[in-house]
Subunit: 339 residues, 2 copies
């Protein structure tokens, strides 16, 4: 008869890993790991995010365990940034094959959590043929600030972006063409024939894809403002701006010449046969904040934000040479198919 | 060039599903679904659990979407029961193939959440070749009660079980032998030659495996007691009792003749060539509470608890015919290999 308990044999190893983790995190949330549930202190209002990183979906096979851990944390913190929250606790559910290097994954995750002053407080571990990492992050609202909601955009506000867009999609395109990043070293297939500025743009694009930077500081600044909505760009401006507008019952106008795409990235996109406008509008995984502010407000210069357009009545449109066309909530495939 | 955005195309469908879910949950937590994070009210101390259900790991291919949803919720609520908590919010991360019936899954999950007075408050959805469902549940502590911790067992306390054990493992064995349960109808392969009592025991075992019942009421009762530890049995008495004893720095003695295994289940185990003692001690996935209480205390009769042994100094041992042997924290494989 077959083994009637698929999960029992692995648990001695899981207990060992949890003991190691507790030692690593003993001076922080380590006390929380190990019971049937983690107990969190009362008194806070919590924003709770849940996001995943799945092999062959969000990243390709062979990505280093450290990179998976950092990306998982980053995409969750980006959601929290879009709420104006401060990260406090993380929970992890990790399924991975027996030969996955859990120690490397957890060492990187714990170090990254320390960086963000965040406690890894619990989770579960399973042996599985595919790497599936899911995280829940709980964040608190800074005292005296508000939560940033998607539904707070108002007519007449300006539409802003927290940074450049399209580079993450460009980085993914490079990885799919055979580029490989191990630690800090980049290998680009000779067939791509990249050098000089384009090589620099390629490295930046791949780093942007593999390790997005959650805009927590920008989110906190936005939380100090009395008005405005925010969302983080995970699926691209086309999809996410439509979501924000739908939640706020408003329309918006994006001026195409304001799209913040570095000129070397535009040239790199051209070299790869991609349209930079499409990368910027529908590329996805940029993880910068898309937000609105009253006309008189402006984020601190050091945060590198760019005014992209405005909130108005009607639908969501793209403005190019004073001609406006609808910007539909479609992904790359659909925009590509229209050409 | 390949599509540089793996996640964008599916999101129109995701938005549609989320709108449907919002309508379904509008009178409850529906307002919480849809922003970058869910915002939870302040004032409570939270117990947070995270557990998963993965195809080919926790359940076999072809399990009905409703059963996956119910099992996922049940294993999380069982962890919360072991803390003495009351469920309040659930978060779901679901990865599944394009032909997975999300509506059936969510309809069952929402109905089950209503049953437990629990709000589905957020999560994420991904298209993936394998079904991986991960849930985070947040529970509150009933006013005036304590959290049940693994580390609270004291010398001299009695050791208790919240119900029968070994049946879930027996159910899994039957499924692996080709038994199929669809809705309420059970099909058992003729080769197993089961009838009468054994067929009744088979049905009960499979239901026990597919749909464990979280012992929330028992957990709440235990939380009213001033002393005692608790853990839920996910990996079997052998593993989980060792965990409880390690956290409490105590030993324990289990009397083998007190193991609560129904007599028809024992006979069914025999028919299948399994040793019922091994099923009971290392079978796993029973999801009943294993707990300790001072000698004078006793749970209400209606909760069906059984006194199993006692907390003592030294290691964790099994007592049979006044002879004691070490009960090691090993799963089925290891116990089986010893014979």
């Amino acid at each position: 008869m077959a083994d009637p308990s698929p999960s029992s044999a692995k648990f001695v190893a899981e207990d060992k890993l949890i003991r190691w983790l507790r030692r690593r995190t003993a001076d922080r949330g380590g006390r929380l790991i190990g019971d049937d549930a983690a107990v969190l202190p009362a008194g806070e209002e919590w924003a709770v995010t849940m996001d995943s990183q799945i092999e062959d979906v969000h990243f390709g096979r062979g990505l280093e365990p450290e990179a998976i851990a950092r990306r998982l944390l980053a995409v969750n913190l980006s959601d929290l940034a879009a709420m104006g929250g401060v990260p406090v606790f993380a929970f992890l559910s990790l399924s991975a094959p027996g030969d996955f290097d859990h120690r490397r994954f957890f060492a990187a995750l714990v170090a990254e959590c320390e960086e963000y002053d965040l406690d890894l407080a619990g989770g579960d571990l399973t042996k599985n043929r595919q790497i599936v990492a899911v995280m829940t992050v709980m964040g608190r609202r800074p005292r005296g600030q508000r939560w940033l909601l998607r539904g707070n955009a108002r007519f007449g506000e300006d539409l802003w972006l927290g940074g450049t867009v399209g580079e993450a999609a460009l980085g993914l395109a490079l990885l799919r063409e055979g580029a490989v990043m191990k630690g800090d070293s980049l290998h680009v297939p000779e067939s791509l024939d990249l050098s000089g500025d384009l090589l620099i743009a390629a490295r930046r694009a791949i780093r942007r894809h593999l390790l997005p930077t959650p805009q927590l500081e920008l989110g906190r600044w936005l939380g100090t403002q009395e008005e405005g909505a925010a969302i983080d760009l995970s699926d691209g401006i086309a999809s996410d701006l439509n979501r924000l507008c739908q939640e706020s019952s408003v329309g918006a106008e994006v001026e195409i010449e304001r799209l913040p795409v570095p000129s070397d990235s535009k040239r790199l996109a051209e070299t790869l046969g991609c349209d930079w406008r499409r990368l910027a509008l529908a590329g996805g995984e940029d993880y910068v904040l898309l937000f609105t502010l009253p006309n008189e407000a402006e984020p601190p210069k050091r945060l590198g934000c760019v005014r992209l357009g405005r909130i108005k009545e009607g639908g969501v449109v793209l403005l190019e040479n004073s001609e406006s066309t609808p910007l539909l909530p479609l992904g790359w495939d659909h925009l590509a198919a229209k050409e």
